[in-house]
């Protein structure tokens, strides 16, 4: 079992600094059919940071991405994201439970700006589907 309770409380190194660009905001907004014109950055944007932090965590623990199903995701914003922000995310393993042959991993990630100020706190539950892995 690649994921076990000994990981609870561990915080992984922050992701490399990520500059929020107009092009990326427009590209992500367009996936929902929106034509972004300089308005608010879509609130799901920090998933880019959280996802990179999650990938680094899975890679560090040798977990195959295709066996992960996303159980939930919650965001709490300290302030709106802005084009020009340079952000990092650091993931902490909050909980690991084994339910019906699956590992259910609770994570939290803090997204911070270049000054180190918290922009967004996000939590995700990752379900690692057991089986032949």
């Amino acid at each position: 079992m690649p994921v076990d309770a000994s990981l609870v409380g561990r915080t992984y190194p922050p992701t490399r600094p990520y500059p929020v660009s107009e092009a990326k905001v427009r590209e992500l907004a367009a996936t929902t059919g929106a034509d972004w014109d300089g308005g608010p950055v879509p609130p799901t944007f920090p998933i880019l940071l959280a996802f990179e932090a999650m990938n680094a965590f899975l890679e560090a623990e040798g977990v195959e991405l295709a066996r992960i199903v996303h159980g939930d995701q919650k965001f709490r914003y300290e302030r709106p994201l802005r084009v020009g922000d340079v952000l990092t995310a650091a993931l902490t393993v909050a909980s690991v439970r084994s339910i019906g042959g699956n590992d259910v991993i609770g994570t939290t990630s803090e997204v911070r700006d270049a000054d180190g100020a918290l922009v967004c706190a996000t939590s995700a539950t990752l379900v690692h589907r057991g089986g032949a892995a």
Binding site: P40, P42, A66
Partner: protein
Amino acid sequence: MTLEAGTTLPTQTFVVRRADLVRYAGASGDLNPIHWSDRVAMAVGLPGVIAHGMYTLALAARAVATWTDDAEVLELGAKFTAPVVVPDDDTGVSVEVAGEVASVEDGRATLRLTVTSEGQKVLGMPKAVVRA
């Protein structure tokens, strides 16, 4: 739109096709093959390719932006309780986002959402809090 507790928000419908998932995969960086390969999705026990939960949540967030005229979002979240299976055809599948204003207090409006596909709820307790 003025946000008043008890207001029912007009349901918004989005059509999701396989190409939308490929586009979202590229834009988000979530290249998990369960969102574009039936072969891999079925190998891990899914009924077929499923939408990224975050894509469904992004559609819900777009509905919130439309309802609230781009109000500042303070909180957003949901459980991904049922998969949205997206067939490899030209029709795709519909996702409906309904909502109501649950409360307005201290400058914060809480919107309780209901997100369904094919008549089934696909998000658990989807919620957004916006600055009112």
